[in-house]
């Protein structure tokens, strides 16, 4: 993140901020142990289901039901993985790739669209800007599930329902992303840069792509990650839109498998291992990228 943003918004905290600031009270050893113990108990709460699924995924189906859930039993992970990945001609892999496609393409598209529109609203003064901004922010308040049904009816009339487009297109719009981009551009794209671009004879779009986008990079990372996770985790929209199993994202596929498990106890293991596999990529991404999130979250919470 070495964007040449000259004026970072004060609201975006540095990761080391916590260490620089003097503490409100001198720490005492006993308080420290107590506080850390409370934090550790909370950590156990947040980790229990994740720990359980990693243990459970290594067991055989009889052991899954027959042994204590938190203790490992005979190692059966290889066979389980083979079962999940080969089931139904490798449909799980296809679901994973679909999830990846929906969230990466949707995330990138949403970021670019939000960046262009947010930049325009920050840099130019034009009629209707406030009204437009208000209407778009209203979109943040509309529950996604309220628009999914009518969107399905609209899409089925224009022949888009049950296609990749049905899930990709709605992923391209992020009102919250536009909001973040606008306030970030206001703070970090100086008028002098735009002016000097004009003096050099660059067009307005060229200035946006050459300078604006680059100066907004920290905000863009945040918008991208938000949208990526939102699309990856979405269930209602694909459920409403898709009938063809081969277009499903992981979330939809897992629930389909789960609905079979009443008839077939082997399906239990398939759902457990599938859940475990779907936790891995985002959990890893969050642990690595979580410091980028906070910048954007601050903007949403603090400005205004």
């Amino acid at each position: 993140m070495t964007a040449p943003a000259p004026a970072r918004p004060a609201a975006a905290p540095e990761d080391s901020g916590a260490r620089r600031r003097p503490r409100p009270a001198g720490p005492k050893a006993r308080t420290k142990i107590l506080v850390t113990a409370v934090l550790a108990v909370a950590a156990v709460y947040f980790l229990v289901p994740v720990y359980w699924v990693f243990v459970a995924a290594t067991k055989s189906t009889p052991d899954l039901f027959g042994t204590f859930g938190f203790a490992p039993a005979e190692w059966n992970l290889g066979a389980n993985l083979h079962q999940v990945l080969s089931s139904n001609d490798g449909i799980f892999l296809r679901w994973s790739l679909n999830s990846l496609l929906y969230s990466v393409v949707g995330g990138l598209g949403a970021t670019l669209l939000s960046a262009a529109a947010g930049y325009a609203m920050a840099v130019y003064d034009f009629r209707g800007r406030r009204l437009l901004f208000g209407v778009i922010l209203g979109g943040v308040m509309i529950p996604g599930t309220a628009t999914a049904l009518p969107l399905f009816l609209l899409f089925s009339q224009i022949g888009l329902a049950d296609t990749y487009w049905a899930v990709l297109l709605p992923g391209l719009v992020s009102p919250f992303g536009l909001y973040l981009c606008r306030i970030y551009a206001e703070a970090s794209v100086p008028a002098s840069v735009i002016e000097s671009g004009r003096v050099d004879g660059a067009g307005e779009l060229r200035i946006f792509f050459a300078f604006g986008l680059r100066m907004m990079t920290p905000a863009l990372v945040t918008v991208f990650l938000f949208q990526l996770v939102a699309i990856w985790n979405n269930y209602f929209l694909p459920l409403v839109m898709l009938a063809d199993e081969r277009l499903y994202p992981i979330t939809l596929g897992l629930v389909t498998w789960q609905s079979y498990q009443g008839r077939d106890t082997d399906m239990y293991m398939q759902v457990v291992v599938g859940s475990m596999l779907s936790v891995v990529p985002l959990a890893a991404a969050i642990l690595v990228l979580q410091r980028f999130w906070r910048g954007g979250l601050t903007e949403g919470a603090v400005k205004g």
Partner: protein, 311 residues
């Protein structure tokens, strides 16, 4: 939304030039087109669908269908459906308990992590945030397994100490869902609160210390008032989220008979559309859910605003 209304800022001087008058619209065009397609059109279409009714002509609909204006008929049908009104009551009860509990937990963790007394704050923060990256479907599956008797180690452990728990019982399952939602979003809300805690100027901490305030007093008198915008933001998002409850009950319904097909308003609307083929009633139900979300969010904001002025 006070938090989403940025103060007016001075524009760059160059902005008022006539040159490049089309540029902002060119830049905004892709966003506006998609926004119109996936927000404005469906909202308009839902309102339209909720106001019409489709009648089939002939005994089996063989003479085609006709569309008629129905006024508020679909809304009447939706609201006279006892299962639907019961489901609204259920999510309101759910939200009245779950949202304060989750935000209190998020606030406690945020304050502890930002206090001087926490060891490894970065590690703990990442661990608490982790569930946010777990899809709601998967979170519900994982907790579902941890709720099922015979599979759940938690029920086993409780039995060891002589407690008989049934997280999927008729009286408890709603709170088991609340636990899933809390698990998923407490860490996310905590991160939002921490972000604003970090923006408090250090002078205020020093002033509080000089005035003899301990950590608890500092939290109450300095930190809490200053992170109000973040608390309001997380509360509004949580209220909207509560009314949308769908995935968690849907997934848990596979584990227990105590969740029916109309357990939450969204499950009901989905059933009306795809099981009963009553699109117009489903549209009315969707509009009602959205209106309830708006009404609750705005009354909450109004309440906060009034309390702020009475200080």
């Amino acid at each position: 939304m006070t938090a989403t209304a940025p103060a007016r800022r001075p524009r760059p001087a160059s902005a008022r030039r006539p040159r490049g008058a089309a540029a902002p619209w060119l830049l905004m065009a892709p966003f506006l087109a998609m926004f119109a397609l996936v927000f404005v059109a469906p909202v308009g279409y839902a309102v339209y669908q909720s106001l019409i009714t489709v009648r089939r002509r002939g005994l089996f609909g063989e003479d085609g269908r006709e569309t008629a204006f129905a006024g508020l008929e679909n809304y009447r049908i939706a609201l006279e459906n006892d299962a639907f009104t019961a489901s609204i009551g259920r999510v309101l009860l759910f939200g009245a308990v779950q949202v304060p509990v989750m935000l209190a937990l998020a606030l406690l963790l945020a304050l502890l992590l930002e206090s001087a007394s926490a060891a490894w704050p970065g590690l703990f923060r990442a661990l608490y945030f982790l569930p946010y990256g777990v899809p709601g479907v998967v979170a519900s599956l994982l907790w579902g397994f941890l709720y099922v008797p015979g599979l759940s180690p938690l029920v086993d452990v409780a039995a060891l100490v002589g407690l008989e728990v049934d997280p999927l019982g008729p009286g408890t399952v709603l709170w088991s869902i609340a636990n899933i939602v809390t698990w998923q979003f407490a860490g996310y809300n905590m991160v939002v609160l921490i972000a604003q805690l970090k923006s408090i100027p250090r002078e205020l901490y020093e002033a509080a210390r000089i005035d003899g305030a301990g950590p608890v007093q500092t939290a109450r008198r300095v930190q809490l008032p200053l992170i109000r915008p973040a608390l309001v933001l997380t509360a509004v998002f949580s209220i909207i989220g509560t009314l949308q409850l769908f995935v968690e009950p849907l997934v848990l319904a596979q584990f227990t008979p105590n969740i029916d097909s109309g357990y939450t308003p969204n499950l009901g609307a989905y059933g009306s559309a795809f099981t009963d083929n009553q699109y117009n009633v489903a549209a009315a139900q969707s509009v009602l859910v959205a209106l309830a979300a708006f009404a609750l969010s705005f009354s909450f904001l109004a309440l906060v605003h009034r309390m702020g002025r009475n200080r």
